[in-house]
């Protein structure tokens, strides 16, 4: 039988294949206790987390840009 962490790692990879990065990060978290020492696992997990952070920052920055341009107009 596959253990829950193995299933979670597999689901994370499938989510990556579907470009569902948020889901993938959740599955990686579930598998981390079992695979935490595995370099490939860690690389994929950290890259996914970094990508999510970048996406979040871009979204926030694009929101902030609007604010900045309004502020610049006022100034």
């Amino acid at each position: 039988m596959l253990n829950p962490a193995e299933k979670a790692y597999l689901q994370a990879l499938q989510a990556l294949r579907e470009k569902q990065y948020g889901q993938a990060a959740g599955y990686f978290d579930r598998a981390v206790e079992f695979f935490g020492n595995n370099r490939e696992f860690s690389l994929l997990r950290e890259t996914t987390n970094l990508l999510l952070e970048v996406k979040k920052t871009i979204a926030a920055a694009e929101g902030r840009n609007d604010d900045v341009s309004i502020a610049e107009e006022i100034i």
Partner: protein, 238 residues
């Protein structure tokens, strides 16, 4: 280039990296997905209630049909074959335990037997005992106290390697020794001084063997725990 443009470039690079990394594992992913689905079927079947036999027959039949190519080609690793053989063995045993024979269950039994004969060596195939249902259930795995992780890559192969190393250590320690306790003493020293994980595992195995044979093992258990803590600290400091 603005900060946002830089971040967008990084986003593209990261997405591309992940896409390529997953693409490289595409073949393995398909295999693991197949094993996972068979595992899901086995788990559903193990639970009482809402899954009637025809549904089970359909699901396993569908799985066999989808993965018939695995019987001929070399996609599967030996560890994959072992796993599939074990899961099928569990399904087969449970079907035997149900004691209901219908054409569809007989067909499944025949197909399972065919797959098992191809997936596992004859010597390791399960032999179900008539009228007795044995189900092994595995709980969620976690870190042991020594912080040892079984690898996801090939736990069976890695364990086999570990066993070989332990056998080598045992052969070394047993030279000129008259009693198993002397070997255990050497093994515990190696586990503590050289931080050898295999020596630790060998020591634990010998202690359990001695305990099973009525020896007082408490002092050795204490030393084993100390060695384990030493190794744990050593890993944490590495």
């Amino acid at each position: 280039m603005s900060r946002t443009d830089t971040l967008k470039s990084l986003e593209v690079v990261l997405e591309s990296f992940l896409e390529r990394a997953v693409s490289l594992k595409s073949g393995r992913l398909d295999v693991l997905d197949g094993i996972n689905r068979l595992d899901d079927i086995a788990r559903l079947k193990s639970e009482p209630g809402p899954f009637p036999q025809p549904d089970l027959s359909d699901r396993i039949g569908e799985w066999f049909a989808q993965h018939s190519g695995w019987m001929e080609d070399t996609t599967l690793r030996p560890s994959d074959r072992n796993r599939i053989g074990q899961i099928l063995g569990g399904i087969r045993q449970e079907l035997n335990g149900l004691g209901q024979s219908t054409p569809s269950t007989e067909k499944i039994q025949t197909e399972i037997a065919r797959w098992q004969s191809l997936m596992t060596p004859a010597s390791s195939q399960s032999r179900p005992t008539a009228g007795r249902k044995i189900v092994l259930r595995k709980g969620p795995e976690s870190l042991d106290e020594a912080g040892v992780h079984p690898s996801n890559q090939d736990s069976i192969g890695l364990f086999a390697e570990s066993l070989k190393t332990m056998a080598g250590l045992f052969a070394d320690f047993s030279r000129d020794r008259l009693h198993l306790m002397s070997i255990l003493d050497d093994s515990l020293k190696t586990a503590s001084l050289k931080k050898s994980r295999e020596a630790l595992l060998l020591s634990a195995s010998i202690i359990y063997y001695l305990k099973q044979n009525g020896y007082m093992v408490e002092p050795f258990v204490k030393r084993l725990k100390e060695a384990e803590q030493l190794q744990k600290r050593s890993r944490a400091g590495a």
